[in-house]
Structure formats: structure tokens, C-alpha cells
């Protein structure tokens, strides 16, 4: 499969790989996908008291497009409020990375990861 230059760039130099303390109150963790489907994303967001995403880290089991999609969203969400981050749509990821139709599910998963991490944070702090 021929990957776009942007996918290759993210794959070769992934941004913000790593983990944060999942038990920390200011960290929201999203774990989406399934090993049997061939992709699992873990996205963690560190959120300030006034609801701004200060830091983001990811780890992904999946193809190049899945890794690039998760790397990209960690860049995008930083500095955004929770409301702004939730407005990121999978189609924005598809367009930015020029994902082919067979890889659209990677972008859907990335969007789900953001929502899941935010919901985890909200649950912890409600």
C-alpha cells in the first residue's frame, strides 16, 4: 500500500508517544479498538482546571495510518478546550493525511479516542 507523505512522516517521527499516570485526576484515558480487528489506540489527555488540554500522549497498535492518525490528533488537541477538541471530526483527519477509503476506520478510531478520553476525564471529575 502506498502511504501519503504525511502518513509516512508521522509514522517515522511519531509525535507524543508515551503514557501518563492513568490514575491521576487530571488525566483522561481513552482506549478504543480491538486487538482482533488489528487496531487499538490509547490516547491520554492532561487537562487543566479551566478545561484546556495541556498535554497529550498516545500508544497505538495498528497500521501506519492508525499510528499517523493518533500522532496527528495529539498535536491537534493540545491547547484546545474540551469543547473544541470534541469538534475534531474523522473527516478532518482523512483529509489532512490523505487516507484512502480502506483506511477511513483509522480516523474514526482516532475521533473515538478523543471522545473516550474526554469522557473518562469527566467521569473522574464529576
Amino acid at each position: 500500500m502506498a502511504y501519503s507523505e504525511k502518513v509516512i512522516n508521522h509514522y517515522e517521527n511519531p509525535r507524543n508517544v508515551g503514557s501518563m499516570d492513568k490514575n491521576s485526576k487530571d488525566v483522561g484515558t481513552g482506549l478504543v479498538g480491538a486487538p482482533s480487528c488489528g487496531d487499538v489506540m490509547k490516547l491520554q489527555l492532561k487537562i487543566s482546571k479551566d478545561g484546556v488540554i495541556e498535554d497529550a500522549k498516545f500508544k497505538t497498535f495498528g497500521c501506519g495510518s492508525a499510528i499517523a492518525s493518533s500522532s496527528l490528533i495529539t498535536e491537534w488537541v493540545k491547547g484546545k478546550t474540551l469543547d473544541e477538541a470534541q469538534k475534531i471530526k474523522n473527516i478532518d483527519i482523512v483529509e489532512h493525511l490523505s487516507l484512502p477509503p480502506v483506511k477511513i476506520h483509522c480516523s474514526v478510531l482516532a475521533e473515538d479516542a478523543i471522545k473516550s478520553a474526554i469522557s473518562d476525564y469527566k467521569k473522574k471529575n464529576s
Binding site: P14, V32, P35, S36, G38, K42, T60
Partner: protein, 410 residues
Amino acid sequence: MDDIKIKLKFPIYMDYQATTPMDPRVLDAMLPYFTEKFGNPHSRSHSMGWESGEAIEIARKQVAGLIGANSKEIIFTSGATESNNLAIKGAAQFYKDQKNHIITVKTEHKCILDACRHLEQLGFEVTYLPVNEDGLLDLNLLKLAIKNETLMVSVMAVNNEIGVIQPIKEIGSICKERGVLFHTDAAQAFGKIPLDVEEMNIDMLSISGHKAYGPKGIGALYVRRKPRVRLEPLINGGGQERGFRSGTLPTPLVVGLGEAAKIAAESMKEDYQIIKKLSDKFCTRILDSIPDVYLNGSRDMRWPGCINISFAYIEGESMILAIKELAVSSGSACTSASLEPSYVLRALGVEEELAHTSIRFGFGRFTTEEEIDYTISVLEGAVQKLRDMSPLWEMAQEGIDLKSIKWSDH
């Protein structure tokens, strides 16, 4: 490592099951038949036809010699897919009024399985036997599956995805005893391991040119003459190839297949020893040194030039991208539009999550020790990088049982 790198040519070819590079000696043998020796091998009225015809018969002998057959028993085809189709459909159609049951195995090549599916639609009965965890056929299951209506058993010699060698001789003797035709798809075995149609009681055997350092577009089917095996042809016409396969033979390709067989006869032993040594080194360094890495299929009953490995917690396509200097193939079919993991690995009982992490490494006559050393070091680095990035590896290291998690399947 940099010293090694200078000597290497990239990408390093590790996909010998997909196709093999043509041996330069094969090309040399073929060239005259493209230009000055262009006569139609079936022309009987002039010397140019005779010249081509003689070249064909020499090639036929060379191919037959490699499998212990008589040259009259070799039918040239366009490749192993056609040979397999001719064997399965041809025999089924010819004998349909006597017997209508076919036995094959779940891990066969798609062209066998698809030909069988086609016959099922026409009313034939097909049994698809399972394999053991090591990819090998249980002979007792085969014995139990044979019944009065069974016409034929088709079992491949060397598997194209995992490299295991089926017990061909034992299967042949069971078939002979029960009066059932035995066909074997030897596309991956011809020229690599010793095959003898008499000793192994094989009635039909499929051959591919380009998997054995010969040209693409040529193959052969061995069809036993004593006792005679009859087939309904797939292609009708001028009655060439004893009426089994009409159409003018492509002389240069046939000569190429013959030359490939001749070279294999001379160098099979040496090729095997070198490939085995390289394969053992690769397996020792990768399988025995990296944690949570698994060989798919029997370690002993195998062609050492095909090593299929699951790298747990690393998705196969990302691995292929990480080792893009190596031309390898993903054991899982997820590089294609389908996201389904390999049916062969599933037949071995490899779980889906592990099947997604599988890569096939193919070695052959032109693989060098420098290439193996480089591959090992690239793989070690890629495993480290991708596991550092894998949430599954992280969870496994924390002692979390991945099966205990409720995953959001999509």
C-alpha cells in the same frame, strides 16, 4: 552494520514464496527461442518447427526427471493455477458419473479452494479437512473422510504461507490403498525438495515455473499414464499436449522451465543446505531471543525458506512499514481491501489478534548471509520501536490479561 549496508542491494528480497528471481542461466537458455529459433514447435513440415519441437521435448524430459516421471506424463500449462484447475476440474468432470466426492485441506492455495467451490456449485461434494496446530494434516482424519464416492484427494506439498511440508508419501500410500486419485500442488516444492511420483504414489502434480527460478507464465501438470488418469480438458483446440491442453506452446518459456528444472536437479542439495543454515541462524536470533515471538507451523516438518512469524503486540502492516528495506509479505491479508487475517493461520487455530501480527520471510537461492544479518538487526530495532509504541505490549508488561478487557469491536 554500516559496513554490511554498503554491500547490500535494497530492498532486500525476502518474498521467495510470491515469486523467485529468474536464474540468469535460465534466461540464457531462453533467449534464442525468442529470436532466431522462433519456429512453431507444432509445425511438422520444416526444420524450424522441428528445432523448436526438439527443444520442447528436452525441456519435458528435464521437468519429468526432477519428479521421477516419464516425459510423456508432463503437460505444459500457463502456471500452477491452471495446472491445479485442470487437475481438479478436469478429473471431476471426466469421472463425474462414477464418483463425485473430493477431499482437500483448509490450508490449500486459493486456486484449489476456489476450484473446489466451483465444483460444489455444480453438484460435487467437497470435504475440507482441518489441520493440526502445527499446520499438518492428521492422516487418520483423511482415512476417515475417504468413502466409496471419493474420486480424489488434493493436498499441497509445501504450504505457501507457512512453509510446512505435508506427509505426501503417507497420503499417497493411503490413496493408492483406497483406490483414490492423489493430486498434489507442488508449486512451492518443485525444485526445492525431493519429489518422486512413483515413490510417493502421486497421480497428478502441479508445477510452477516462477517459483523455481524459471519464467512467469509457464507451469506443468504431471498426469500419470500407468494406470492412466483421464481428464476433461479446460481448453479445447488443436489437441496439443495429448489433448489435455490445446494451444501453441510458448517455446522460450517451456525451455526456461526445463532449464530451471535441470539447474534444480544439480543444485537442490546444496541450495537446501545453504538455505537451511541461513534459516536456522534467522530463527535462532529472532524466535529464540525476542520475547513473545512465535513461529507459525511445525518447526521440523518445513521448507526452511519460508518462515512465518507472529510478533505479538505489533500489527503486521506497521511492521512491514518499519522494515520497508525488506521486501516481505504480511501473513495477514490486511494490506488488501479485506481486513480479515489469513485463513491459513486461522486454520492452525492462531487467534485473530496474533494473526494480525504475522509476517512471512522467504529465503532462496540468492539470499546471502549479509542479508540475513541485516534483516535480523533491522527486525530487532523495529520490534523495540513498535512495542514501545504499542498499548497492548504496555498492558501485557503490567500483567493485564488482554482477554479480560471488553474491547470495542468495530
